[in-house]
């Protein structure tokens, strides 16, 4: 990322055509991208969330009988995330932590099920932890007090990750090309030999 000093150096001593070229090829698109990423992801630029949520809806037994069983799976990562999920009619949490670790997290308020809310204060261990809670979740959750839609925390498919990753790679390649072109000398009249010439407009 260019610092302010580097940007000023880039622009110093340039004439108007060169400045226009730098704006169109480098600064303009760069600014659009940086501001967009900041608006999308905030100051913590991370392309993925520190936890994933998946909603549970149905229970099926070995005879194929099905019944509604609302619940939620929360898979927390090693990143810090203070999550509060509003959840109705919940009474139990099933976790991948061993009993002592689970008890310790409960006592230290890192895991809590209370008054229609499930609280998780990651990291909960030195690896990803899975939690299953019965009950019906709402459309939103709270991340460090800020409301966010649950939809944004659902698991991302491999195809989606692949699409975003590759598109980002092509963008980097394109911007690199544009940077090189944007800093190249400006020809007064860009032209190639052998092209058709005609009189300018009357």
């Amino acid at each position: 990322m260019l610092s302010l000093t580097e940007i000023v150096e880039l622009l110093r001593g340039k004439n108007k055509p060169q400045l226009a070229q730098i704006m169109a090829f480098i600064l303009g698109p760069g600014l659009v991208f940086v501001v967009s990423v900041f608006l999308i992801f905030g100051s913590l630029v991370s392309f993925d969330k520190p936890a994933a949520i998946s909603e549970l809806k149905t229970e099926i037994d070995q005879n194929g009988n099905r019944s509604p069983k609302p619940g939620v799976i929360l898979i927390t990562d090693l990143s810090s995330a203070h999550l509060v999920l509003p959840i109705e009619n919940s009474s139990i949490v099933w976790t991948s932590l061993d009993p002592d670790a689970a008890h310790e997290k409960f006592l230290s308020d890192k895991l809590k099920l209370d008054a229609g809310q499930f609280l998780s204060d990651a990291p909960l261990g030195d690896e990803a932890v899975t939690l299953v809670v019965n009950g019906k979740i709402g459309p939103d959750l709270y991340v460090s007090g800020v409301k966010e839609p649950v939809d944004d925390w659902r698991l991302t498919s491999n195809e989606s990750r692949s699409l975003i990753s590759w598109a980002s790679a092509v963008w980097l390649l394109t911007f690199g090309m544009a940077f090189a072109l944007g800093t190249s000398p400006v020809e007064p009249n860009q032209d190639h030999a052998g092209e058709i010439r005609a009189e300018p407009n009357e």
């Binding site: 195809e159 598109a167 394109t174």
Partner: protein
């Protein structure tokens, strides 16, 4: 690895754009004065109609809710619009110039030169509408990336911004050459998506019979005391025809493509077939989608309609991703470049310079920034990704009415009058839209009802232009010598 396939296509297009840089200019220092080496303008024209806002937005909604008569009207209107454009360009410019002097920029220059503030208003409205159209494409791409490809909101927004930036660079690097050449690649991918998805949708079948989908129970575009009959279907056909032709008349990227078809001078017969083919192919591809996808059972549109069938398996995901991104790039780039070109020519009518490269760069980045801001505004102020496209129905209708009312010649209007005429059209449309906003702010079948109001705007503008031309003529004759 669907992402890898998308990356390959984007890189191929990038290489095409880079290799097109600076090539084919008629005059040095005129980056968009390129008429040679632009392949297959007919296919490129189909590619414009294959946009997310038009074909996969408004036209799809009309075909789904109103059936075959409206769909045929849209196709007929598109072809009619292409012929009207061809007639306009031939009559106003082609026949007046010698072969070696003809070029598309000459046509635009003659359109805008010596027309005072009328030309400024004309350029401003069309350029702004094209940028808004590009923003609408962005909003819909984002929404379809969520619904059809299963991306999360943030990832969909990021994907839309990245693809838009890449598209911006295509046309910044390579201008019209890059646009036309990448259009061919993109059309192939859109067609592939349409064939794969269309076949799958038809295989799964529709819950409702085909006859019912082709002629659904009329709920919109109704006439008093006339039930489902050939007269009502004829009315639907007429409304859709006006809509389809208006879109062609008001799109400067279409003018460029039609110009290229005329330039090929392949004879009247092949020109006719080229325009008919370009106009109808998109609707043949739309038909299986309209037959198979039931977007609404009542009231609100089911925005998750594509997810259940379209992303089953890697092949479908890849086809859908490639098709959506290609469709977006094609229309986004066309709209952005045509907006920039019109502004560039308008500036030239005020002041000619030896090299327009700096001007081109400045106008490109400002137009792109304007489009981006509209996209952000759309995200911030509405949850309906199709709302902006719906709103643009009015401005497109107004511009088309202006084209018809002036027969493509701004000098028929009194000097400095166009902004008043446009203000009248804008007042009617904005008032209607504000009154209907509550029913339009979520994706809803009600949105197709904006079309008849758009047609009213079209006729209002055309009549206002004819009237002002008539009044101008009367006043000129009455003026004492």
């Amino acid at each position: 690895m669907p992402g890898a396939f998308v990356a390959i296509v984007l890189i191929i297009s990038l290489v095409i754009a880079r290799l097109s840089m600076g090539k084919g200019r008629r005059v040095p220092g005129r980056p968009l004065d390129v008429d040679d080496g632009l392949p297959l303008p007919e296919l490129a024209q189909s590619s414009t109609v294959f946009s997310l806002t038009a074909l996969f937005g408004a036209y799809f909604a009309i075909a789904s809710t109103l059936g075959l008569p409206a769909l045929i009207g849209l196709a007929f209107g598109t072809v009619l619009g292409l012929f009207l454009d061809a007639n306009w360009i031939t009559r106003r410019y082609w026949n007046d110039e010698t072969a070696e002097k003809r070029h598309f920029e000459g046509f635009l220059f003659r359109l805008l030169k010596d027309k005072g503030t009328n030309a400024v208003s004309y350029t401003f409205v069309i350029s702004a509408v094209q940028c808004a159209y590009a923003a609408s494409e962005l909003l819909i791409l984002r929404e379809l990336a969520k619904q059809a490809l299963g991306l999360k909101s943030q990832h969909a927004t990021l994907l839309a911004i990245i693809v838009a930036l890449i598209g911006y660079f295509y046309v910044l690097f390579g201008g019209y050459r890059a646009l036309f050449r990448t259009d061919v690649v993109q059309l192939v991918l859109v067609a592939l998506m349409a064939i794969v998805c269309g076949a799958l949708l038809l295989w799964h079948g529709s819950a409702v019979g085909w006859k019912t989908r082709l002629f659904p129970e009329p709920q919109f575009w109704l006439l008093p005391h006339i039930g489902p009959s050939r007269w009502l279907y004829f009315y639907h056909f007429i409304l859709a025809t006006i809509m389809g032709s208006g879109f062609m008349l008001a799109s400067p990227d279409t003018w460029k493509r039609v110009y290229q078809v005329i330039k090929r001078q392949t004879g009247a017969k092949s020109q006719t077939f080229a325009l008919i083919g370009a106009g109808t192919i998109p609707y043949l591809i739309l038909l299986p989608f309209a037959l198979s996808i039931n977007i609404a059972t009542d009231g609100n549109v089911k925005t998750g309609f594509m997810r259940s069938t379209s992303v089953a398996g890697n092949v479908m995901f890849t086809a859908a991703a490639l098709g959506l991104i290609s469709s977006f790039l094609s229309s986004f780039n066309s709209a952005l470049l045509s907006s920039v070109h019109l502004q560039l020519i308008q500036r030239r009518t005020l002041e000619e310079v030896s090299s327009e490269e700096p001007r081109f760069h400045v106008i490109m980045i400002l137009s792109f920034a304007f489009t981006w801001l509209m996209f952000l505004g759309g995200l911030r102020f509405t949850t309906n990704a199709w709302l902006l496209g719906n709103f643009l129905m009015g401005p497109y209708a107004a511009i088309a009415g202006l084209q018809i009312g002036t027969r493509g010649d701004l000098s028929r209007l009194p000097r400095n009058s166009l902004h008043y005429l446009l203000a009248i059209g804008a007042l009617i449309w904005v008032t209607y839209f504000a009154l209907k906003y509550d029913s339009l702010k979520i994706p809803n079948k009600e949105s197709v009802n904006t079309v008849p109001v758009g047609v009213i705007i079209f006729f209002t503008m055309a009549l206002l232009c004819l009237l002002s031309n008539f009044v101008q003529g009367v006043m000129k004759r009455a003026k004492p010598n």
